[in-house]
Protein backbone atom coordinates (compact mmCIF):
# COMPACT_ATOMS: atom_id res chain seq x y z
CA UNK A 1 0.00 0.00 0.00
CA UNK A 2 1.29 3.46 -0.88
CA UNK A 3 0.15 6.85 0.32
CA UNK A 4 -0.37 9.29 -2.59
CA UNK A 5 1.63 12.53 -2.55
CA UNK A 6 0.16 15.45 -4.51
CA UNK A 7 2.10 18.45 -5.76
CA UNK A 8 0.58 21.94 -5.65
CA UNK A 9 2.93 24.72 -6.79
CA UNK A 10 5.84 24.59 -4.35
CA UNK A 11 4.01 22.43 -1.89
CA UNK A 12 3.34 18.75 -1.42
CA UNK A 13 0.01 17.66 0.02
CA UNK A 14 -0.62 14.32 1.65
CA UNK A 15 -3.86 13.14 3.15
CA UNK A 16 -3.50 9.85 5.00
CA UNK A 17 -6.77 7.99 4.51
CA UNK A 18 -5.87 4.42 5.32
CA UNK A 19 -4.99 2.48 8.42
CA UNK A 20 -1.20 2.80 8.54
CA UNK A 21 0.85 -0.29 9.16
CA UNK A 22 4.58 -0.18 9.79
CA UNK A 23 5.65 -0.93 6.22
CA UNK A 24 3.31 1.68 4.76
CA UNK A 25 4.75 4.24 7.17
CA UNK A 26 8.36 3.46 6.26
CA UNK A 27 7.50 3.43 2.55
CA UNK A 28 5.82 6.80 2.92
CA UNK A 29 8.90 8.23 4.60
CA UNK A 30 11.05 7.21 1.63
CA UNK A 31 8.49 8.32 -0.94
CA UNK A 32 8.10 11.75 0.62
CA UNK A 33 11.83 12.42 0.82
CA UNK A 34 12.41 11.41 -2.79
CA UNK A 35 9.42 13.49 -3.91
CA UNK A 36 10.86 16.54 -2.08
CA UNK A 37 14.17 15.89 -3.81
CA UNK A 38 12.61 15.51 -7.28
CA UNK A 39 10.14 18.37 -7.06
CA UNK A 40 12.14 20.91 -5.07
CA UNK A 41 9.11 21.48 -2.87
CA UNK A 42 9.67 23.91 0.01
CA UNK A 43 6.60 23.08 2.06
CA UNK A 44 4.69 19.91 2.93
CA UNK A 45 1.33 19.40 4.63
CA UNK A 46 0.52 15.97 6.02
CA UNK A 47 -3.17 15.83 6.89
CA UNK A 48 -4.14 13.30 9.56
CA UNK A 49 -7.90 14.06 9.76
CA UNK A 50 -8.84 10.48 8.85
CA UNK A 51 -6.27 8.83 11.07
CA UNK A 52 -7.80 7.46 14.25
CA UNK A 53 -4.75 5.75 15.71
CA UNK A 54 -1.17 6.94 16.08
CA UNK A 55 0.91 4.55 18.13
CA UNK A 56 4.52 5.04 19.21
CA UNK A 57 5.92 3.64 15.98
CA UNK A 58 3.82 5.77 13.63
CA UNK A 59 4.54 8.80 15.83
CA UNK A 60 8.26 8.14 15.53
CA UNK A 61 8.05 7.78 11.76
CA UNK A 62 6.09 11.04 11.47
CA UNK A 63 8.41 12.92 13.83
CA UNK A 64 11.43 11.61 11.94
CA UNK A 65 10.06 12.54 8.52
CA UNK A 66 9.57 16.13 9.75
CA UNK A 67 13.22 16.29 10.87
CA UNK A 68 14.47 14.60 7.71
CA UNK A 69 12.54 16.97 5.46
CA UNK A 70 13.84 19.87 7.49
CA UNK A 71 17.39 18.68 6.84
CA UNK A 72 16.63 18.73 3.13
CA UNK A 73 15.20 22.24 3.36
CA UNK A 74 11.47 21.55 3.27
CA UNK A 75 9.11 22.60 6.03
CA UNK A 76 6.48 20.06 7.13
CA UNK A 77 3.24 20.82 8.96
CA UNK A 78 1.03 18.07 10.41
CA UNK A 79 -2.65 18.94 10.35
CA UNK A 80 -5.98 17.61 11.56
CA UNK A 81 -4.83 15.51 14.52
CA UNK A 82 -8.05 14.26 16.12
CA UNK A 83 -8.83 14.94 19.81
CA UNK A 84 -8.70 11.22 20.66
CA UNK A 85 -5.33 10.87 18.94
CA UNK A 86 -3.88 13.89 20.77
CA UNK A 87 -5.03 12.49 24.13
CA UNK A 88 -3.67 9.04 23.37
CA UNK A 89 -0.28 10.41 22.31
CA UNK A 90 0.12 12.28 25.60
CA UNK A 91 -0.86 9.14 27.56
CA UNK A 92 1.81 7.29 25.64
CA UNK A 93 4.32 9.95 26.63
CA UNK A 94 4.83 11.21 23.10
CA UNK A 95 4.86 15.00 22.84
CA UNK A 96 6.12 15.64 19.29
CA UNK A 97 7.46 18.92 20.62
CA UNK A 98 9.41 20.13 17.62
CA UNK A 99 6.76 19.22 15.11
CA UNK A 100 4.79 22.10 13.56
CA UNK A 101 1.06 21.45 13.58
CA UNK A 102 -2.14 23.20 12.53
CA UNK A 103 -5.85 22.60 13.05
CA UNK A 104 -6.68 21.70 9.48
CA UNK A 105 -5.34 21.72 5.93
CA UNK A 106 -6.31 25.36 5.41
CA UNK A 107 -4.52 26.53 8.57
CA UNK A 108 -1.58 24.35 7.64
CA UNK A 109 -1.21 26.07 4.29
CA UNK A 110 -1.51 29.49 5.96
CA UNK A 111 1.26 28.49 8.36
CA UNK A 112 3.50 27.50 5.45
CA UNK A 113 2.79 30.77 3.60
CA UNK A 114 3.71 32.73 6.70
CA UNK A 115 6.88 30.83 7.44
CA UNK A 116 8.14 30.52 3.90
CA UNK A 117 7.01 33.97 2.84
CA UNK A 118 5.65 33.04 -0.56
Amino acid sequence: MRIPILKLHNYLLISIQTEIDDNTAIQFQEDLLSKIHQSGATGVVIDLTSVDIIDSFIAKVLGDVVTMSDLMGAKVVLTGIQPAVAMTLIDLGIHLKNVPTALDLEQGLIKLYQELGE
Binding site: D21, D22, D52, S56, A84, D91, G93
Partner: protein
Protein backbone atom coordinates in the same frame (compact mmCIF):
# COMPACT_ATOMS: atom_id res chain seq x y z
CA UNK B 1 -18.02 -15.41 31.07
CA UNK B 2 -18.09 -14.37 27.45
CA UNK B 3 -16.19 -16.31 24.84
CA UNK B 4 -12.70 -15.13 24.02
CA UNK B 5 -11.49 -14.00 20.65
CA UNK B 6 -7.81 -14.28 19.90
CA UNK B 7 -5.51 -12.97 17.21
CA UNK B 8 -2.20 -14.57 16.35
CA UNK B 9 0.68 -12.14 15.96
CA UNK B 10 3.20 -13.38 13.43
CA UNK B 11 3.31 -10.87 10.59
CA UNK B 12 3.63 -7.14 10.73
CA UNK B 13 0.10 -6.75 9.35
CA UNK B 14 -1.28 -8.75 12.32
CA UNK B 15 -0.60 -5.66 14.45
CA UNK B 16 -3.23 -3.80 12.41
CA UNK B 17 -5.60 -6.79 12.51
CA UNK B 18 -5.35 -7.03 16.31
CA UNK B 19 -6.05 -3.36 16.93
CA UNK B 20 -8.98 -3.36 14.49
CA UNK B 21 -10.58 -6.33 16.25
CA UNK B 22 -9.97 -4.78 19.67
CA UNK B 23 -11.43 -1.49 18.55
CA UNK B 24 -14.54 -3.20 17.15
CA UNK B 25 -15.09 -5.04 20.42
CA UNK B 26 -14.55 -1.82 22.42
CA UNK B 27 -17.07 0.01 20.24
CA UNK B 28 -19.67 -2.73 20.74
CA UNK B 29 -19.29 -2.67 24.51
CA UNK B 30 -19.95 1.06 24.51
CA UNK B 31 -16.58 2.76 24.91
CA UNK B 32 -16.39 6.36 23.65
CA UNK B 33 -14.10 7.39 20.79
CA UNK B 34 -11.25 8.49 23.05
CA UNK B 35 -11.21 5.23 24.98
CA UNK B 36 -11.54 3.27 21.72
CA UNK B 37 -8.39 5.04 20.52
CA UNK B 38 -6.65 4.33 23.84
CA UNK B 39 -7.54 0.63 23.68
CA UNK B 40 -6.55 0.30 20.03
CA UNK B 41 -3.25 2.06 20.67
CA UNK B 42 -2.48 -0.14 23.69
CA UNK B 43 -3.15 -3.24 21.54
CA UNK B 44 -0.88 -1.86 18.85
CA UNK B 45 1.97 -1.44 21.33
CA UNK B 46 1.49 -4.92 22.81
CA UNK B 47 1.25 -6.55 19.39
CA UNK B 48 4.36 -4.75 18.19
CA UNK B 49 6.30 -5.94 21.23
CA UNK B 50 5.34 -9.52 20.39
CA UNK B 51 6.26 -9.07 16.73
CA UNK B 52 9.61 -7.38 17.50
CA UNK B 53 10.86 -9.42 20.44
CA UNK B 54 9.11 -12.78 20.42
CA UNK B 55 8.34 -13.14 16.70
CA UNK B 56 5.05 -14.80 17.44
CA UNK B 57 2.40 -14.85 20.08
CA UNK B 58 -1.23 -14.16 20.71
CA UNK B 59 -3.53 -11.46 21.95
CA UNK B 60 -6.88 -12.55 23.39
CA UNK B 61 -9.78 -10.26 24.13
CA UNK B 62 -12.55 -10.88 26.56
CA UNK B 63 -15.64 -8.85 27.36
CA UNK B 64 -16.18 -8.44 31.07
CA UNK B 65 -19.82 -7.88 31.94
CA UNK B 66 -20.49 -7.84 35.67
CA UNK B 67 -23.46 -6.23 37.37
CA UNK B 68 -21.74 -2.92 37.97
CA UNK B 69 -18.67 -3.24 35.80
CA UNK B 70 -18.32 -3.52 32.08
CA UNK B 71 -15.03 -3.59 30.29
CA UNK B 72 -12.53 -5.21 27.98
CA UNK B 73 -9.71 -7.43 29.06
CA UNK B 74 -6.78 -8.26 26.84
CA UNK B 75 -4.03 -10.75 27.39
CA UNK B 76 -0.87 -10.74 25.28
CA UNK B 77 1.11 -13.96 25.50
CA UNK B 78 4.31 -15.01 23.84
CA UNK B 79 6.98 -17.67 24.26
CA UNK B 80 9.76 -15.26 23.44
CA UNK B 81 12.99 -14.44 25.30
CA UNK B 82 11.20 -12.84 28.28
CA UNK B 83 12.15 -9.61 29.98
CA UNK B 84 15.37 -9.58 32.01
CA UNK B 85 14.68 -6.45 34.00
CA UNK B 86 10.95 -5.84 34.42
CA UNK B 87 11.35 -2.64 36.45
CA UNK B 88 13.55 -1.20 33.72
CA UNK B 89 11.07 -1.77 30.87
CA UNK B 90 8.47 0.02 32.98
CA UNK B 91 10.61 3.16 33.04
CA UNK B 92 9.60 5.89 30.64
CA UNK B 93 11.95 6.23 27.72
CA UNK B 94 13.64 2.86 28.12
CA UNK B 95 13.91 0.85 24.92
CA UNK B 96 16.03 -1.94 23.58
CA UNK B 97 14.70 -1.57 20.05
CA UNK B 98 16.19 1.85 19.40
CA UNK B 99 14.26 4.97 20.04
CA UNK B 100 10.63 4.08 20.62
CA UNK B 101 10.57 3.59 24.35
CA UNK B 102 6.94 4.56 24.84
CA UNK B 103 5.91 0.91 24.94
CA UNK B 104 4.84 -0.62 28.23
CA UNK B 105 4.61 2.40 30.56
CA UNK B 106 2.46 3.99 27.84
CA UNK B 107 0.18 0.94 27.74
CA UNK B 108 -0.14 1.08 31.52
CA UNK B 109 -1.27 4.70 31.37
CA UNK B 110 -3.71 4.03 28.53
CA UNK B 111 -5.44 1.20 30.39
CA UNK B 112 -6.99 0.96 33.89
CA UNK B 113 -5.35 -2.26 35.03
CA UNK B 114 -2.01 -3.66 33.98
CA UNK B 115 -0.22 -6.81 34.99
CA UNK B 116 3.10 -8.02 33.62
CA UNK B 117 4.60 -11.46 34.18
CA UNK B 118 7.75 -12.52 32.46
CA UNK B 119 10.22 -15.32 32.77
CA UNK B 120 13.56 -15.20 30.97
CA UNK B 121 13.76 -17.90 28.31
CA UNK B 122 10.09 -18.77 28.65
CA UNK B 123 8.02 -15.81 27.64
CA UNK B 124 5.89 -12.91 28.68
CA UNK B 125 2.25 -12.50 29.65
CA UNK B 126 0.67 -9.08 29.90
CA UNK B 127 -2.89 -8.55 31.00
CA UNK B 128 -4.57 -5.17 30.68
CA UNK B 129 -8.14 -4.12 31.43
CA UNK B 130 -10.13 -1.02 30.58
CA UNK B 131 -13.49 -0.27 32.21
CA UNK B 132 -16.37 1.56 30.57
CA UNK B 133 -16.85 4.81 32.46
Amino acid sequence: MNPQSCVNIQKEWDIVGARQLGRDIAKKIGFGTVDQARIATAISELARNIYLYAENGQICFEVIDNINHKGISMVAIDNGPGITDVSKVMEDGYSTSGGLGAGLPGVKRLMDEFDLQSEVGKGTRIKAVKWVR
